[in-house]
């Protein structure tokens, strides 16, 4: 049984701009799906169509077995957490959390019990009588979460909920949100442009680019077998090295260097993708890089240089020798991804 099903869901804004190209996928119950992509790729638009805040131009949307295309947001059984929290500034935390229930004509004592339960879960007990302006960013974020969870929705929607927080708090809230979602088992769609958030939180990631879905897969699939050069370069920090190469005699070569001996591709130009950490120092290795810059990051180092005149980065452990100049290296087995040089699709 699928919980959320999109069938050729599409958004064309009144000005004719196609913000989301027909998208189809299903989300299983309890799954945590992260929508990730660069700014302006249509993530928010997709989420807002699911929430009912934006009209659906084409296609159908099912939530928990119901087609909800024309339902009001309030009737879709969803809850949403916004980037700027969107708390009601004139209401106390208690009223903020309970407001959605109050509008649904739920008895007062039930509301009180549910608010108490949510606040206990989120450690908000001490703040229930404060106004949002008297809370820190992280606390506001938790109130927004509380407002979402009291209603026991079928689906949580998050639109970049952590991007207003500082880095440390972001890490902490990331773990909290994920743990809470696990505990409540509520299906969730989470929008972010931060690929670290995507990798760490998602059961499955949907990578979008310019209104199009580039790839859907688990974090491991997305990382290790990116479907396109876009995904390869978007996910990972630093991203996958993409080099112009050639297939000749069954081998993939970058300049004079053979990077793969049994390339499953027809002869001709290809794009060769190699993750920075799949290049290892090896005095007898087949590759000779020219390192220009060494970045010291404590636990590891990043080396930036060239291979056959093309830019690339290498990620090595802190024990690995690192100097500028020539650098002999080998590739880990299975390290090379090949992409069509024209379309960027994985071969």
């Amino acid at each position: 049984m699928s919980h959320v099903t999109l069938t050729a869901l599409r958004k064309v804004y009144p000005n004719g701009f196609e913000a989301v190209k027909p998208a189809s996928y299903t989300i299983t119950p309890g799954e945590f799906v992260v929508l990730v992509g660069p700014s302006g790729c249509g993530k928010s638009t997709m989420l807002r169509m699911i929430a009912g805040l934006e009209d659906i131009s084409d296609g159908t949307l099912e939530i928990a077995g119901r087609v909800v295309n024309t339902l009001d947001p309030a009737d879709r059984d969803i809850a949403m957490v916004f980037q700027n929290y969107a708390l009601y500034p004139h209401m106390t935390v208690r009223k903020n959390i309970g407001y959605g229930l109050q509008n649904r004509k739920i008895p007062k004592d039930v509301i009180a019990a549910k608010v108490a339960e949510a606040s206990a879960l989120l450690n908000l007990d001490d703040y229930l009588d404060r106004k949002p302006s008297q809370l820190s960013g992280g606390q506001r974020q938790r109130v927004a979460m509380g407002r979402a969870i009291v209603r026991d929705p079928a689906l949580f929607l998050f639109d970049e909920p952590l991007s207003n927080l500082d880095a440390k708090l972001r890490n902490q809230m990331r773990i909290e949100i994920k743990a809470l979602q696990r505990r409540l088992g509520v299906t969730s769609i989470y929008v972010t442009h931060d690929q670290v958030e995507a990798m760490t939180m998602a059961d499955r990631i949907i990578v979008m680019n310019a209104g199009r879905i580039e790839q859907i897969g688990t974090p491991a699939e997305i990382y290790h077998t990116p479907a396109t050069t876009f995904v390869a370069s978007f996910m990972g920090a630093p991203p996958m090295n993409l080099l112009d190469g050639q297939i000749a005699g069954g081998a993939a070569r970058v300049g004079d260097h053979t990077v793969m001996t049994d390339a499953p591709a027809a002869p001709g130009p290809v794009t060769v993708g190699i993750r920075p950490e799949d290049i290892v120092a090896d005095p007898n290795g087949p590759l000779t890089l020219d390192i220009a810059i060494v970045e010291e990051l404590g636990a590891h180092r990043l080396l930036h240089g060239t291979l056959a005149g093309q830019q690339l980065s290498v990620h090595v452990g802190k024990d690995s020798p690192a100097t500028t100049g020539p650098f002999r290296a080998a590739l880990k087995p299975g390290a090379v991804s090949l992409f069509d040089a024209g379309t960027g699709e994985r071969l």
Partner: protein, 287 residues
């Protein structure tokens, strides 16, 4: 160094001189009013304003508040004060209510010609009551609303100014707040009462002050539509007394001046007490 300091001080002196002169210009007539209400009418008539302070404040105040003229004997100062309050408050709330509703419709509902509607409302600024006073009078008269509070208030409350201020204010309320309320199941009416009105309260207070004073000081329209003495407002009633100055008794300067003083007070009090709200409403953006 010293010349720099001197120049600075000179400009301060000039600034203050200008400000003091301006303040005097404003306050002296009020002081004269206060002085004249303390003197017997005869002295006022003989010498006009002077520097001496008399003992007539209490009798003049009593006359102003409780003495009536005309045939019916009901347009005492208290009665006129009440009418003025009814006009000021009704006028202010009416304008705020109508303006808020119009702005709500324009900002939050997908109306086809919302901006056209807004600009049409806006152009009514070019048509104040004075311009349309004859047709307005005709309408009120045909509706049988002469000498009623409705007739006094309703034709004045359509307000482009209030609509404009509330529109600007509503547009500054974050979109997400509206969306969160939609997801929380707040329909248009609930959203208006639960979210929009509480968020706008400083704005409402500021508008109330402006509009109350504006309504309180209305003169032309009340003069047109109220002919019964029981409906007179203060501002209009003072005129009635000064008209009697042309009679052959000793003119009641003290009483008329006291009424003028009483008429000034409520707007002043409101502005003083609600000043902080007023400033907040027009400047604050904590939403």
């Amino acid at each position: 160094m010293t010349t720099h300091k001197r120049r600075l001080r000179l400009s301060t002196v000039v600034d203050h001189a200008i400000l003091i002169a301006g303040s005097l210009l404003m306050i002296v007539p009020v002081l004269m009013l206060v002085q004249m209400t303390s003197m017997p009418d005869l002295i006022n008539m003989k010498t006009g304003p002077s520097l001496s302070i008399g003992d007539q404040w209490v009798p003049n105040f009593e006359k102003a508040m409780f003495q009536a003229d005309g045939f019916s004997g009901i347009n005492t100062g208290t009665r006129m004060l009440m009418n003025s309050f009814i006009l000021g408050i009704g006028f202010a709330f009416g304008k705020i209510f109508v303006g808020m509703l119009a702005a709500y419709a324009i900002v939050y509902f997908r109306m086809r010609y919302a901006s056209l509607a807004f600009w049409i409302i806006f152009t009514t600024l070019l048509l104040p009551l004075e311009v349309r006073i004859l047709p307005s009078y005709e309408v009120v008269q045909r509706l049988g609303m002469l000498n009623t509070y409705q007739g006094l208030i309703i034709p004045l409350i359509a307000s482009a100014t209030a609509t404009f201020f509330f529109r600007q204010y509503f547009r500054s309320i974050p979109e997400e707040l509206v969306e969160a309320a939609r997801i929380d199941g707040a329909g248009p009416v609930r959203f208006f009462f639960d979210i929009l009105i509480p968020l706008s309260r400083t704005m409402i207070a500021a508008m109330f002050i402006i509009m109350f004073v504006y309504g309180w000081n209305q003169y032309l329209w009340p003069t047109m539509v109220t002919t019964e003495e029981g409906m007179f407002t203060l501002v209009r009633g003072i005129k009635q007394i000064t008209q009697m100055l042309e009679g052959n008794q000793i003119p009641e300067y003290g009483r008329a001046n006291m009424l003028a003083l009483i008429a000034i007070l409520p707007p002043v009090m409101i502005v003083i007490f609600f000043q902080s709200w007023f400033v907040k409403g027009l400047t604050e953006s904590d939403k």
